[in-house]
């Protein structure tokens, strides 16, 4: 063994302790760096070389070396963290969307749709109380407009929430594409670094952080690959495979928004992460809410219009013989056209075939007045029962009716027709194809057009408005539908909040487990620092000692007796 081996041993220790100290410094520096995993040097004693045949070396060790830089990271914990982060992001998006909806409706409150409907029904009662008062009618119209506008606004907001969500989805997918490309590049860099035996720990951290963000954004799963690479999958299809990254795009052409693979134009299944949550919001939640609002708006339209625009009447059982009445007449106008006379010769309709006979006669007369196919007449009633007459316009048409002065035909045949103050009946109150365009019907151009009473009821009849006001307490009306809808929204939102809170907790736990393994503890690093510093000091001291020993040997040996 060489006389100078001691120096080399001391040197190796100085090197190793300094590397260890540097790593400690690196750890401390990155104590707050997101995604950083603490590192440690693995020190290893350098064993003595197996000596040659005639070597005089006794097999003692040759010092210390840095065997490897260990990075504290658990691959399985990473996979789990990716899943939990994805699920959390998904729920967080849905929660935010439901949150927005809840604030939108502002229920229970004084400005919401419920209030608007209550006011509308009260308005009908006020008109019933004072059918001749234009102020009450005007107030009712204002309330109907206000309610319609509130419903329109809510529906518009839902649509705009969806548009915003689509924009955010596009931005998310763009970010995902950039990150996938980065992960692929880092995979390549890591592979090269490891192949030449370099320390790739910090690159690995960066890459893992990106991979986790991919999981958060789009619910990707992470699988360890070869040579330090990770593969990122989206429901079984590779998003990043080693150094190759696929890109995604958002397809907004269909009724449902979808994410597709840019290369193959094949739909990508995204069920987790921000993108998964946004897709659920865009394709399921918001359209569902819009559909619910549509149902409510159409129910309101139909309930009110059924009373307000119904054209029909009845002949009491005793009055079915009209043979002495002469001509029964009333006037009909189609789609705002001129009034045309409908005239039916009075006959004895008291027999079994009376209903059919009146129906045929009326249908022919109506067809003659406004053309065939524009309105359907139905007359029902067995012998001995009242005859019930109704007149329905073809879908999308309006049928206005009016009595002929001095002729009782209208009063008897169509006496229960709702009429405005001008005696014209058949006007619709609301028109709508959905919540977005609910509005007061164009049939009503003046407050006097609101039908408060019935054709046979006289000018101050308020009986119809009374019936309309009573829709307020209907258990199957628009009010009840709306309440059920708001409660369903509340339950959905509450359940999502709870699921999100639980998921958040789970995610935090995984994050804590990870940071328990990978996080930097400053106390620990300080202890290490002291430890390495002492070792360094000792090695230096050792070197000095060897130096002194050599000095003794070289300079002070063999000078006895000089």
């Amino acid at each position: 063994m060489s006389d100078f081996a001691g120096l080399r041993i001391a040197l190796s220790s100085l090197y190793a302790q300094r590397r260890a100290m540097e790593i400690t410094g690196h750890n401390v520096s990155n104590a707050n760096t997101e995604g950083y995993s603490r590192q440690r040097v693995d020190l290893q004693a350098i064993p003595g070389a197996t000596g040659g045949l005639f070597a005089t070396w006794d097999g003692g060790g040759q010092g210390v070396r840095v065997a490897q830089f260990v990075r504290y990271r658990d691959a399985f914990l990473e996979i789990r963290a990716a899943l939990e982060h994805g699920a959390e992001a998904h729920l967080s998006q849905v929660r935010a969307a439901l949150d927005q909806l809840e604030w939108l409706f502002d229920e229970p409150g004084d400005l919401g749709i419920q209030r608007g409907m209550s006011e509308l029904w009260s308005g009908f009662d006020d008109v019933a109380n004072r059918p001749g008062d234009n102020a009450a009618r005007q107030q009712l119209l204002e309330r109907a407009e206000t309610l319609a506008t509130t419903v329109n606004h809510a529906a518009k907001q839902v649509v705009s929430f969806r548009d915003t969500a689509i924009e955010r989805l596009s931005a998310t997918v763009a970010e995902v594409n950039t990150m996938s490309a980065d992960v692929a590049q880092l995979n390549e860099a890591i592979k090269r670094s490891l192949n030449v035996g370099d320390n790739a720990n910090d690159l690995l951290d960066q890459r893992d952080l990106l991979a986790e963000r991919l999981a958060t954004r789009i619910g990707a799963t992470i699988h360890p690959g070869e040579d330090g690479a990770v593969n990122v999958f989206l429901n079984g299809t590779a998003l990043v495979s080693e150094n190759l990254a696929e890109s995604l795009e958002v397809d907004t052409t269909g009724p449902s928004v979808a994410i597709r693979w840019a290369n193959a134009n094949f739909p990508a299944t995204v069920t987790s992460g921000d993108a998964g949550g946004l897709l659920e919001v865009i394709n399921v939640k918001l359209p569902g809410h819009l559909a619910d609002l549509d149902t409510i708006a159409l129910k309101l339209r139909d309930d009110v219009n059924a009373l307000h625009s119904g054209v029909g009447g009845s002949l009491a059982a005793a009055d079915r013989d009209q043979s002495a009445a002469g001509a029964l007449q009333f006037e009909v106008a189609l789609d705002g056209g001129a009034m045309a006379l409908v005239s039916v010769a009075g006959a004895d309709w008291s027999g079994a075939g009376g209903a059919a006979a009146l129906q045929a006669a009326l249908q022919a007369a109506v067809d003659g007045a406004i053309g065939a196919g524009n309105a359907t007449v139905t007359v029902a009633g067995a012998a001995g029962q009242p005859l019930v007459v109704s007149l329905a316009p073809a879908v999308g048409s309006t049928l206005l009716t009016q009595a002929v002065a001095g002729n009782s035909g209208f009063a008897t045949l169509l006496g229960t027709t709702a009429v405005g103050r001008d005696g014209i009946g058949g006007r619709r109150f609301f028109e709508a194809t959905g919540a977005l365009d609910l509005g007061v019907s164009s049939d009503i151009t003046d407050a006097s057009h609101i039908a408060a009473g019935r054709a046979a009821g006289g000018p101050l009849d308020g009986s119809l408005a009374l019936d309309l006001a009573e829709l307020a307490t209907s258990t199957s009306g628009a009010d009840a539908l709306y309440r059920a809808y708001i409660v369903a929204l509340g339950v959905d939102s509450q359940a999502t909040q709870q699921r999100h809170d639980i998921q958040n907790e789970t995610m935090t736990q995984v994050d804590n487990s990870r940071s328990a393994l990978a996080g930097v503890n400053i106390d620990e690093e300080m202890v290490n620092m002291v430890q390495y510093q002492h070792a360094y000091d000792a090695a230096a001291r050792f070197m000095t000692s060897v130096d002194e020993m050599l000095d003794t040997l070289i300079n002070n040996t063999g000078i006895v007796g000089r």
């Binding site: 809840e102 804590n512 940071s515």
Partner: protein, 295 residues
């Protein structure tokens, strides 16, 4: 609790502390919001069950307010009718007294003429009463917008039941139709009075027959008056019930929606204390590390 070999790091501690502080601050904010708005349900998800109750109660309250208005209106209609009928009965009684006077054989033609003229005046007064208006609408004219009777005593109205909703699903008729009250055309009270005046003037022998008609008419009016009274009483009862209902509804709504202030304030104090304690300990715990003790 964490297991024994669970490593704790400064960063994870800082994260946990901020999460916990954030959580307790959120709860404080929630309470403060509830107290300042005095509403414990700020949106449906705060309590879906409470929300459905609140929505229903609000709708019921809206209906209740409207019904209170309907009841006021019904009271006014019936009270107007009652007043008018009271005057009508007075006038008829006066006419009857005059007729009895006229039957006194000692009266000469001039006196009888004077009585007949007074009865004519009474008739005109009665037509005026039959045209009693409330809010510019003839209350005995049914559903027409004209007067109930013209000056000649012809009925112009269209008889119909005018109703008010006085409870959900309950309606009450608030009008009396002229022809039901004063008798059908030809046999009405005004014709009777005209005939009576004529009889007094020219044919005292016919007075008795006319007097019978007058009494029959009076009976009808008194019956109707009793009806009006009964309906008014019913409406007063409904008014009481409705305002009691409003109070119950408001109380229920307040229970569902409003914050229980003492409890909320108490809870906020507790949370505040907890928050302050958390802040103080955080400040103490997070500061020192071994760095502070190494020289």
């Amino acid at each position: 609790m964490v297991s024994a070999d669970y490593r704790v790091t400064q960063a994870s501690m800082a994260r946990k502390v901020t999460t916990n502080l954030q959580r307790s601050l959120q709860k404080l904010e929630q309470l403060q919001d509830q107290i300042s708005s005095n509403r414990q349900i700020r949106r449906p998800s705060d309590s879906p069950v409470g929300t459905v109750a609140a929505l229903q109660l609000r709708a019921d309250l809206g209906r209740n307010e409207q019904i209170a208005r309907n009841l006021d209106d019904a009271t006014a209609w019936l009270a107007s009718a009652d007043d008018a009928l009271m005057s009508v009965v007075e006038q008829i009684t006066r006419a009857r007294d005059l007729t009895i006077q006229a039957q006194n054989g000692a009266l000469g033609q001039p006196e009888r003429d004077a009585i007949a003229t007074e009865i004519d005046n009474i008739r005109e007064g009665l037509i005026g009463l039959a045209n009693t208006r409330y809010l510019d609408r003839s209350i005995f004219a049914g559903t027409v917008d004209t007067a109930a009777y013209d000056t000649a005593g012809n009925y112009l109205g269209q008889s119909a039941a005018i109703e008010r909703t006085i409870a959900p699903g309950v309606r009450v008729q608030i009008n009396l139709n002229g022809d039901e009250l004063f008798g059908p055309a030809g046999g009405d009270l005004f014709t009777t009075l005209t005939d009576l005046a004529n009889a007094i003037r020219t044919n005292p022998a016919a007075i008795d027959a006319e007097l019978l008609d007058l009494d029959a008419g009076t009976n009808v009016i008194q019956q109707r008056q009793a009806e009006v009274g009964a309906r008014l009483k019913r409406i007063f009862t409904m008014q009481d019930r409705n305002s009691a209902g409003a109070i119950t509804l408001k109380q229920s709504l307040s229970q569902v929606e409003d914050v229980d202030l003492p409890q909320a304030i108490m809870e906020m104090r507790i949370r505040e204390t907890a928050y302050n304690a958390a802040l103080a300990t955080t400040a103490m715990v997070i500061q020192p590390s071994l760095v502070d003790f190494l020289r």
